[in-house]
Amino acid sequence: MISNIIRKSALKLFICLGVPLSLFSSSFVGAQSADVYPLKTALVYNFAKFTQWPETAVSSVVNICYFSELYKPSMERLAGKKISKSLVLVKQVKNIDEVDQCQLLYIDKSQREKLNRLFLKVKGKPILTVSDISGFYGEGGMIEITVKDNRLRFLINLFPVNESDMVLSSQMLKLAVEVKR
């Protein structure tokens, strides 16, 4: 009986607090600030724009792959966009052996334990690796996304990029915080 009352009042509280807040709180984000997931996704999309893959890997599509569920909503929105004449395809991957068809692979920080296998897999392959895992570009990754003063920054390691015969535009290199050549 008592527990029934408590359950009911918990539900009421859940709703009574939730409904007004969701309707009246300042939900709409101004142009000057944005959520971190879509923002990082947009950054990944821009990296793809500034990358030239070797001829063997060029086709009429650019495959952007990502791992985590957290990025699913924002990544899915990239599908169908165009990069010059190529169509962007987006694929969520779960295992390292599924990345063969990817031109760009985004691995987020919840996936750190996959790094050893990833580096072994992509070595020498024209797959642009991007991550927000701290230390990524020092450990063998290509582009690391970091946050400084609440703004996104990125670092580039050109060794694996050159090894895989990819070319990053000088415009992008200029905007990087650090470029390892």
Binding site: L17, G18, S25, L39
Partner: protein
């Protein structure tokens, strides 16, 4: 009315879904340069993705810990569905998963970064000495139900994995300082740096003093009050701890992690010992003692291909407790090998081998005698294998088994079968059947314990007649004492209708056999000239029982800056009478958490929780006593004037008054939990 609520929920969900969509669209139109100028909103909350595993899993994130202001691991575990977390005194906690809550809960395995925190001599966890810098915890994964096939014996009712951050994620400096009433004062500092390209390090030091919880002698039996007579109930304590971690990315797709911790605590407690002195035949006394320890762990991982990887982990753990009731030194050395690979297109296989050596020396124990040396060692060998089979796009079957050989009961095999069916993107169901064991503790196997004496002319168990002498009860360890066994049946259901709302639920049925009981043995009259008779009883496996229950966890991202979480656990059980351990969890545990970011500087976190009546073993009477239901509110306010500085205020157990949350078995006295608060300043540099 009911319809109104349903309608309100639905429309709000749809509304928040639209909000979610809106805020994600525009950043794709920005140029690279423009993107780097956009400020990341610190107010917005993210939904936590539900686990894909066929098990009842709940994850506490670093962010959860920070916002709730938990200053210890037990505090962080409050509100996890299926767990009963209760504070016994300033230091001690009773934490149980799906029942079997208590100071001496032997059915829950706890690990930190792969190192077991389970103490073999009393089969339980000394929560007071399991600590680290809370800000460096990446997450705590709580698996309710058996994890034995993967993690080993004693993971019968659950596994708690505490995982600390990679040292690359703790670069730079961090310091915090704070004080309140229960938290008399604390300070921590951590510094992280780079050793080389791909090699990072961090080190930390922390210290705290915590005040006694209040004691009220009305919470005890008349007999206990007489024994307590004027003895100090102080239970305050202090701790100094430090440690560090190094992570190195090595050539050839491999990596190495080395970590260490050391601690020194000074604790005060009030404990009981039985005596042969009239008229009370027992006494409480106040005991001040030290506990200290250190550990060193190394883990090497190497990838052999995109789908295969092995790791070798070794650690050493030293713990010493100069408790005058039960003082011991334990040294543990452990080595584990694991190999995971993909076979064909549908098998994900992981197998491993392990060996653990434990040396355990009881230094002081007035109530313990043993025919064997008080300094003994045991070996544990283990092998396990798990195959995760993808039957088709939506159906996964997991087969797992672990074989272990321990010094007391020999070989134990613990199999587990799990099935997961992803109905569609919104609905997932899973089910599990598992057999697991809880292996004997040293006390059950070869120690004799005099935990209580029965007063003259009192019959405690009706078949036994009352005698005009004091009866000294000695429970004798039994070399033939077997493992406790459990068959578990679980089903779970996950529902994610919108990205902003999710529901995770599970039902379980546990069938226990060979549970610990005490069998009456020989009565020794030879001590009558000394004024008492000695009754020798021994540990046996004649108890059994079953329990069932449900857990629900719902989370709802009401708007960008407001998140709510509702956790509920239901428990029902039926066990043999006069069990020698706490078996029942409270029937209902509910918690409701709201987390609100007012603006980019201020966040408020509030939790209301209710715990219904609980049954706990009552000292001296050999029966269960009821601990009353209680509720309370925790509130936390975090104010960050800049991104590097946060000022926080936390109130704990507010509005609930003063109450006994739970009681430790036999040797300790009940303490009360009361409202408390503290303030904290944390700085990153």
């Amino acid at each position: 009315m009911k319809n109104f609520y349903i309608c309100a929920i639905f429309s709000t969900l749809v509304c928040s879904q639209v909000v979610q969509a809106n805020r994600e669209s525009d950043s794709f139109e920005l140029s690279l340069q423009e993107l780097l100028e956009v400020e990341i909103t610190s107010v917005s909350k993210q939904p936590q993705a539900l686990s894909k595993a066929p098990a009842a899993i709940y994850v506490i994130t670093n962010d959860d810990i920070r916002r709730s202001g938990a200053t210890s691991i037990p505090q962080a575990l409050r509100d996890v569905p299926g767990l009963h977390v209760a504070q016994l005194d300033s230091q001690k906690w009773a934490i149980g998963s799906r029942g079997f809550s208590g100071r001496y809960n032997n059915k829950l395995l706890v690990m930190m970064d792969g190192r077991t925190l389970y103490s073999p001599e009393f089969s339980g966890v000394y929560w007071e000495v399991q600590d680290t810098l809370m800000a460096d915890i990446d997450r705590i994964e709580v698996i309710r139900g058996p994890g034995a096939a993967m993690w080993g014996a004693n993971a019968v009712n659950g596994v708690i994995n505490i995982i600390t951050k990679h040292s690359a994620d703790t670069q730079g400096g961090y310091a915090e300082i704070g004080a309140g009433d229960y938290e008399k004062g604390f300070a921590s500092v951590r510094f992280g740096g780079k050793l080389d390209e791909g090699a990072t390090i961090r080190g930390y030091v922390k210290g705290f003093k915590r005040d006694s919880l209040p004691f009220n002698d009305q919470d005890m039996l008349t007999l206990q009050r007489a024994m307590m007579n004027g003895v100090s109930s102080d239970n305050d304590w202090g701790d100094l701890q430090g440690g560090g971690r190094v992570d190195i990315a090595l050539e050839g797709a491999s990596s190495l992690t080395v970590s260490t911790d050391f601690y020194r605590s000074k604790l005060q407690q009030t404990v009981f010992t039985p005596t042969v002195d009239a008229p009370l035949y027992g006494k409480y006394y106040s005991d001040e003692f030290d506990a200290n320890g250190w550990n060193l762990l190394a883990k090497f991982t190497e990838a052999l291909s995109a789908t295969s990887e092995y790791s070798i982990q070794a650690y050493y753990d030293h713990a010493r407790r100069d408790d005058s009731l039960f003082g011991f030194t334990t040294d543990t050395a452990d080595i584990d090998f694991q190999y995971q690979f993909k076979a064909g297109t549908s098998h994900n296989i992981i197998w491993g081998l392990g060996y653990r050596y434990i040396n355990d020396d009881i230094n002081v124990a007035p109530i313990i005698t043993s025919e064997k040396s008080l300094d003994t060692s045991t070996d544990l060998w283990s092998a396990f294998m798990r195959d995760e089979i993808m039957l088709n796009d939506s159906l996964w079957l997991t087969l797992a088994a672990r074989v272990e050989h321990n010094s007391y009961t020999g070989a134990e095999i613990q199999p587990n079968l799990r099935l997961l069916y992803k109905i569609d993107d919104v609905n997932t169901v899973w089910s599990s059947v598992a057999y697991s064991v809880r292996t004997p503790s040293r006390a059950e196997n070869n120690l004799s314990i005099n935990a209580v004496n029965i007063l003259p002319n009192v019959s405690i168990a009706p078949p036994m007649p009352a005698v005009p002498y004091l009866t000294k009860i000695v429970v004798v360890g039994n070399g033939d004492y077997a493992s406790e066994k459990l068959m578990t049946y679980e089903i779970g259901y996950r529902y994610t209708p919108f990205s902003v709302f999710s529901l995770d639920s599970s039902l379980f049925y546990n069938n226990y056999s060979d549970l610990r009981s005490v069998t009456t043995g020989i009565t020794d009259l030879s001590t009558i000239p000394r004024g008492f008779i000695t009754q020798h009883n021994s540990f046996s496996n004649n108890a059994s029982g079953h329990s069932y229950g449900a857990e629900i966890s719902a989370q709802w991202l009401v708007s960008n800056d407001f998140k709510m979480k509702l956790n509920y656990s239901f428990f029902e059980g039926d066990f043999s009478e006069s069990l020698t351990q706490n078996t029942y969890a409270p029937k209902h545990i509910i918690s409701l958490n709201a987390d609100w970011s007012l603006n980019k500087h201020v966040g408020i976190n509030a939790t209301w929780r209710y715990t219904s009546d609980a049954l706990a073993l009552s000292p001296f009477t050999f029966t269960d006593k009821t601990i009353g239901s209680h509720q309370g509110v925790d509130v936390g306010v975090n104010w960050s004037p800049s991104s590097d500085i946060t000022l926080s205020w936390f109130g704990k157990n507010l509005l609930g008054g003063s109450y006994v949350e739970y009681e430790a078995e036999q040797f300790h006295i009940p303490y009360r939990v009361e409202p408390s608060f503290y303030g904290k300043l944390s700085v990153s540099f």
